[in-house]
Amino acid sequence: MAMAADDIATMIRAALPDAEVTITDLAGDGDHYAAHVVSAAFQGMSRVAQHKAVYAALGGRMGGALHALQLTTAVPISGV
């Protein structure tokens, strides 16, 4: 049921092409990840909307195949 870190990053980048995605395997078990996603697309979006955009990129796997994904989002510091 677990997903590889690369697959997670690839799916996020497919939906948010400019995104800088950093995936950390928290437990070393391929099942508990932290993802930090930085994208200019988040500009002007609420935190909830930013997270929903990432969840949408993962196509319904969140809460299913991906149980434990700690997520943080941000816009690039330099702006757009």
């Binding site: 935190r47 909830v48 997270h51 929903k52 319904g60 969140m62 299913g64 943080t72």
Partner: protein
């Protein structure tokens, strides 16, 4: 289908009827998931009165809550009927002082 509708009504009643309510796995004393545990810890640090709903005790709510705010995971925090976010957003907001600001502006009772 009427079952689903009534569950949504129950959810509306719960989030309208409690200033701060956390849908979680387990209870504050015995959280059944690390994310729920973290959400409870944040609310404790914040020092607000809050209600919790253990979704593991109610399969209808466990399913319906995901559609309710179009949010795929649990825990979920609601303040004054508004969806705030899951544990990651709670942590980000807590660290930024935004959660404190939110409950202050909402006039939530302190524990």
């Amino acid at each position: 289908m009427s079952q689903t509708a009534s569950t949504a009504e129950r959810l509306t009643e719960i989030v309208q009827g409690n200033d701060v309510v956390l849908f979680m796995k387990g209870t504050p004393l015995f959280p059944q998931c690390g994310f729920s545990s973290r959400a409870v810890a944040i609310l404790e640090r914040l020092g607000v009165e809050y209600a919790t709903v253990d979704v593991l005790q109610d399969m209808e709510i466990r399913q319906a809550i995901k559609a309710f705010s179009d949010w795929p995971t649990i825990p979920q925090l609601y303040v004054k009927g508004e969806f705030v976010g899951g544990s990651d957003i709670m942590m980000e907001m807590f660290e930024a002082g935004e959660l404190e600001q939110l409950v202050t502006e909402a006039g939530v009772a302190r524990a």
